[in-house]
């Protein structure tokens, strides 16, 4: 797969990127294999569909409860974090979030940052802002580190380097890391990464992480991981900055266990991850390690848009497990990069239009066969297919001055609308229909050989020479 451009432009080139992946037999096989693996592992975690259904109903209730009370819970979270000594910042845009984090770096003279895996930091393209500000931001999740060396973006939210083979990684390490010889042994490759990054953890003066759940009741940030890089990023440097979307809050601590269980089982088919890291305070007097300062950046970046609509609000229930992409036949064929967004797959198709506007993402809600697999596996019951249909309607309907969605009507075409209006008129009036079908069958040789999107992958439509009613008449 080619190196991805620095800035995302989903709509531009979506077809071309998809086509390139679909025609690449090697990538087809590797995505298929990876998705089959993840689907089987998940299925093994939910042998009892009754248990799964009742647990996801509980998960849905917990997330809907969080969203129903979101303004109050964010205020309570802020008050409890502040009481615990964690500094809370609010950002409406990626630019504001980057400025807040870089300002914290500047205050501490921090030049070396270690990053735990954070999709929100990808969303705000923090690494580019850091580079411009002279801060070295090192990705420490093994998959993210590999992609940073390769100059690529994640193609999956849980398994970022899922598109890369061990041969490609072996070659990459040999080329980019001094003194490293080519090896395809996965254990050896991981140990090479461990050694390089251990030095980075030792030297770093600031750590950045995401957040999986922010508990309003106790003022606690919860992080889910397997590698230990998340714990190191949030413990070894003297300053820790966490960044999260405003929707990640939950009301009570007792709401965490069901969501955590749904997350790990849905994401990678693990009954639990290696580490669950709950941070409630900076280092206290007498404590010998941990950051002296902890900050939380709460990011909007368009999330308040779906929040304002009862149906679209369900988008924000997401706990970012990635099960929808693992089960998506479109994702499996085109891979994560084709979407051109931070979040690919079905969840990306329903969240990206709010983060980036429908102008930039008009093609995404249509990148689905509406087979329904995403909705069936979603651990918090987001009705993804319904939301895709809603967004398609918003994209292709006539632009309205009172539209609540940014870019509503971006895909609207007067010609297309005219055609559909004519179609509705013809099919709604029997006399008109008879006249139309008589003309269409007599003049079927006039049917154009190129019929827009239809003929890009299909033979042209041509009305039959005789109508069904004519054939029936002949038989009688």
């Amino acid at each position: 797969m080619n190196q991805q451009p620095i800035h995302f432009m989903p709509t531009v080139g979506f077809r071309e990127r998809s086509k390139a992946v679909v025609e690449n037999e090697f990538l087809q096989k590797s995505f298929r294999g990876a998705m089959d693996f993840l689907m089987a592992k998940r299925a093994a975690q939910f042998p009892d569909s009754g248990e799964f259904e009742s647990l996801r109903t509980l998960g849905e209730q917990i997330r809907q409860n969080s969203l129903a009370k979101l303004p109050e819970l964010l205020t309570r979270l802020e008050a409890n974090l502040t009481r615990n000594g964690i500094q809370v910042h609010w950002a409406e845009t990626p630019e504001e979030a980057n400025a807040i984090i870089l300002d914290i770096c500047r205050k501490h003279g921090a030049k070396r940052m270690v990053k735990g895996k954070s999709m929100v930091s990808e969303e705000i393209e923090f690494n580019h802002a850091a580079e411009a500000a002279g801060v070295e931001a090192i990705e420490t999740d093994m998959g993210e580190y590999i992609l940073q060396l390769a100059g690529e973006k994640p193609s999956h939210i849980i398994m970022p380097a899922i598109h890369k083979t061990k041969q490609q990684i072996a070659k990459l390490f040999e080329e980019k890391l001094p003194g490293v010889a080519y090896t395809e042994d996965v254990d050896t490759l991981i140990q090479i990464g461990r050694q390089v990054l251990r030095q980075k953890f030792l030297e770093a003066d600031i750590g950045l992480s995401g957040v999986n759940f922010a508990v309003a009741e106790t003022g606690t940030l919860c992080l889910v991981e397997n590698e230990g890089n998340g714990r190191l990023s949030t413990t070894a440097p003297k300053v820790h900055v966490a960044i999260t979307g405003i929707e990640k809050v939950v009301e009570k601590l007792e709401h965490v266990p069901p969501l955590y269980s749904l997350l790990t089982r849905s994401a990678t088919g693990q009954n639990i991850t290696t580490y669950f890291n709950m941070i409630s305070r900076p280092r206290q007097p007498g404590e010998k390690d941990g950051p002296e300062e902890v900050h939380l950046v709460l990011l909007d970046n368009g999330r308040t848009q779906p929040y304002g609509d009862e149906q679209l609000r369900k988008t924000l229930q997401c706990i970012r497990c990635g099960a929808c992409m693992n089960h998506c036949p479109v994702y499996t064929h085109i891979g994560g990069h084709a979407y051109g967004t931070t979040y690919p797959g079905p969840i990306g198709e329903i969240i990206s239009p709010h983060l980036m506007g429908l102008e930039a993402t008009a093609t995404l809600p249509s990148a689905s066969s509406l087979c329904g697999a995403c909705g069936e596996v979603c651990p918090v019951k987001i009705p993804i297919p319904e939301l895709l249909i809603r967004l398609r309607t918003e994209v292709y309907s006539e632009p309205r001055p009172d539209a609540k969605l940014r870019g509503q009507g971006a895909g609207h075409s007067a010609l297309m609308s005219g055609i559909w209006r004519a179609w509705a008129a013809i099919y709604g009036h029997p006399a008109l229909y008879r006249a139309y079908s008589w003309l269409a069958s007599r003049f079927n040789w006039l049917a154009p050989s190129r019929q827009g999107g239809w003929t890009s992958v299909r033979t042209p439509l041509k009305p039959a020479g005789k109508r069904l009613r004519d054939l029936i008449k002949e038989q009688q």
């Binding site: 205020t75 413990t235 007792e254 290696t274 669950f276 280092r283 404590e287």
Partner: protein
């Protein structure tokens, strides 16, 4: 108006709260509670941990220190980091006295010896506060005596856990121990050695944290 106020104002304008019924995770867990003896729960805990590539040794108050020394010797480990201000840390230190294994103490702030901790320490011993049978999980609440990096940086992490402290589920643990009344600076669940499957979905241990997790499961003698 600040970014905070604008965000909160947009959220409030949605009037999303219609007094929906509150979720009841307690009822969900209660309905699925297992009827098992303490011994069965201990077995379940140990087998879950072992399935996640942890080593589990059954010990008691009288023999755990000797078991610790034996494990360290068998692994060829040259030094062990302990918390000498804790009872188990002091017992381990006394047990190692006179052996070839050096006993190191986490007795000063990390800034004073970070490079040594990262480069030289081979193993550490901490206690677990309690445990979870369902997922084979150790619960650690690091404190001034037993700091956070002790269970993370050394390549071998040895954990002493009382069998009597094993809860059935994570939910049971935080309810029974009343976590919502006050959490420490950092609370941790640990369920296996550090691992990753980021290269071609191939599982590899020892990603960034401990490569080996050794559990001393202490039961009544």
């Amino acid at each position: 108006m600040s970014a905070r106020d604008r965000i909160l104002q947009r959220l409030a304008a949605a009037h999303a709260d219609h007094g929906q019924p509150a979720p009841d995770p307690g009822a969900w867990y209660a309905a699925r509670a297992r009827n098992e003896s303490a011994a069965e729960r201990t077995v379940r805990f140990a087998s879950m941990l072992e399935a996640a590539r942890a080593e589990v040794h059954r010990v008691n108050a009288g023999n755990w220190v000797q078991k610790l020394v034996d494990i360290l010797t068998a692994k060829g480990i040259a030094n062990l980091l302990v918390a000498p201000a804790t009872a188990h840390g002091a017992a381990a230190r006394d047990g190692l006295a006179g052996s070839a294994i050096a006993c190191l103490a986490y007795d000063r702030p990390i800034e004073d010896w970070k490079a040594k901790l990262f480069n030289d320490v081979q193993a550490s011993l901490t206690a677990a506060r309690s445990a979870i049978a369902e997922t084979g999980t150790l619960i650690l609440w690091p404190d001034p005596q037993e700091p956070r990096l002790m269970s993370l940086v050394p390549p071998v992490h040895i954990v002493l856990v009382e069998a009597s402290s094993i809860h059935a589920t994570f939910f049971d643990a935080l309810r029974a121990e009343n976590w919502s009344a006050g959490l420490p600076t950092n609370a941790l669940l640990i369920s296996s050695p550090s691992k990753t499957a980021d290269i071609q979905q191939t599982l590899a241990y020892g990603a960034h944290g401990p490569k080996e997790l050794v559990v001393l499961l202490k039961e009544e003698a």
